[in-house]
Amino acid sequence: MSSRSRRPLTPWMFLAPYGVAVLLLIALPALLNLGYAFTDHTGLTRDPRFTGLANLRRLVADDFFLDSLEASLFHVAVSVPLRLLAAVGLGLLLAAPRPGGRWFRVAVYLPTVIPDVALAVLFLWVLNPLYGPLNQLLGLVGHPGYTWLAEPTTARVGVVLMLLFPIGEGFLVVLAARRLLDGRLYEAAALEGCGPFGQLRRLTLPLLAPVLVLLAVRDTILTLQVNFVPAYVLTDGRPANATQYLPVYIFDHAFEFSGFAYGALLTIVLMVISAAVITVQLLAVRRWRVLR
């Protein structure tokens, strides 16, 4: 009897450390965050007062928020497809064993282990209009180059470019998933006259679809948040607020301008937007029967 009554406890005990951490470090702050969003809490005073929907009214009238939202959505719309394309393209290209393949795989993964700030500092150099290698490359084909971080559009492109490099995780997932596919499926397809592109379209992509959907959802969540570091180091939200992405805007409000309350509300908005974008993705997945 005693062993039977003890058994159901064991899994919970194993879960406990993680569960406690999730509760203390995520669930509780999230709840507090939800509460703060409807107060005037500044993070400095001890007595936040309930202000009802005042923050919400402020948000609706906030033009800077709309700019920030636009910057974030632009970034997701450009960055997620490109990052996926890079991760999937390189993953499929480098999955087959070939001489030197190991070094190429290391090269693709390497930027992922470089700290964000270091990579951003590196990109300050890459994007430098006077001596940066990117403009020099453009110069080789006769292009005068850009003042990358000084123009709104090119500054956004610069951030996208930088975030095209830390794709190691998606790359690894695609690499592993592709290597699990049965080689005989490809032989069977070759016997049917399916060339490399036919095999990509009819076999590889459909078979990897669950992995690709997962990566797209994950990268959307990630991309809405990770542009904080490049925006902070490269542009500090400038020029003309073109890179004032939502995480940057949240940080500025929470820690530099008006305190926690408004920042808390913006955080909830960011979460709702993430959920909305993912919902749209999953609806598209179902609509187009990407998954079987």
Binding site: R184, A189, L191, E192, L207, A209, R292
Partner: protein, 345 residues
């Protein structure tokens, strides 16, 4: 040259994978409409032959002629050849219908025609009610039929079957063997079938080709190959348990320079028999029994006998080999010696 298409001729075919030579100078002829079984131990080159004929690999040297034409430069999908893979290689993300239509879509066969062919193939193999299922929703036997149907829709002149029954359980294998024969009879097309299974090799093919270490050892009707193995390798491979082979003749009668062989079923229990032996183990198989015996000089002989003989390990007995069923092989070359060249009987 036959009027039917589908005759295959392999001429001095050699293929190596890295440092491993899979095929050595293989000459083999498959007649149009014939079901030829390639049999041999793992790594003997059976599947390599299929892959070369299908066009999945290129030979290092030698020629592959299909209906008299060298197909070396013909890409796989232009050869009128369909292959059924071991474990079937069905596309897991497609339904049975999708699997059957795959090749037709790639080749842009008009929709109506493609549907007709897929349905005809499905009906022939009794899987018409499974068209909307996915491979992981079917049993092994059903998947095997889908794989075969996928080959059928190509309407090829040659079918290559790579261990098509290996993943089925014993009962299903028996039933599917009959189905496969029926399909071959109906279609009348050439089939080359690879197996390492003795029973399949004996029952399925019109002819049998025994391979070992990348060489064709013997080709002929199954019974003939069984009765008159061309060399020691074939003698040792076909039959379960395999032929008893005694270098120098030993208990089967002195024969210097030769190896004598006798199949377990050609050794009779006989109180007056010339061979004395002790039973080491008894394998009762229900319908028969295999006695594993050892002679005083250490020679081991397997004996196939009826069940319920009451013998146990340790019992002594005497054996009489059937003199007409003694096989003689040159110990040096391994080649079979005809009776006329042999030593006294």
């Amino acid at each position: 040259m036959s009027a039917h298409p589908g005759a295959i001729r392999l001429e001095t075919l050699t293929k190596a994978y890295g440092s491993v030579t899979a095929l050595h100078d293989v000459d083999l002829e498959v007649r149009a409409g014939e079901l030829l079984t390639l049999v041999g131990p793992s790594g003997s080159g059976k599947s390599t032959i299929l892959r070369l004929v299908a066009g999945l690999d290129r030979p290092d040297s030698g020629r592959i002629l299909v209906d008299g034409t060298d197909v070396a430069q013909v890409p796989p999908h232009r050869r009128a050849v369909a292959m059924v893979f071991q474990d079937y290689a069905l596309y897991p993300h497609l339904t049975v219908r999708g699997n059957l239509l795959f090749g037709l879509r790639v080749r842009r066969v008009p929709r109506a025609e493609a549907d007709r062919r897929a349905r005809a193939a499905a009906e022939r193999l009794g899987i018409a009610d499974l068209l909307d299922r996915y491979p992981d929703q079917m049993s092994g036997g059903q998947r095997q039929r889908v794989a075969l149907a996928r080959a059928l829709v190509r309407e090829p002149t040659v079918y290559l079957l790579d261990e098509p029954l290996a993943s089925l359980d014993a009962q299903l294998r028996f039933a599917t063997r009959a189905d496969l024969l029926a399909v071959h009879r109906d279609l009348g097309t050439t089939m080359v079938h690879v197996t390492h299974d003795q029973a399949e090799a004996m029952t399925l093919g019109d002819r049998l080709a025994v391979l070992d270490a990348g060489r064709v050892r013997q080709v002929g009707p199954p019974q003939q190959v069984y009765d008159e193995p061309a060399d020691l390798v074939v003698a040792g491979f076909l039959g379960s348990p395999p032929m008893n082979l005694v270098p120098g003749g030993g208990v089967l009668g002195e024969a210097p320079g030769l190896t004598l062989g006798v199949r377990p079923e050609d050794l009779a229990l006989d109180p007056d028999g010339p061979i004395e032996a002790t039973v080491e183990a008894v394998e009762a198989l229900g319908s028969e029994a295999i006695l594993l015996t050892r002679c005083p000089d250490g020679t081991r002989l397997a004996v196939r006998t009826g069940p319920r003989h009451g013998l146990r390990a340790g019992a002594g007995l005497r054996l009489r080999p059937d003199p007409h069923r003694l096989h003689r092989f040159d110990t040096e070359t391994g080649q079979r010696r005809r009776r006329a060249e042999g030593v006294d009987e």
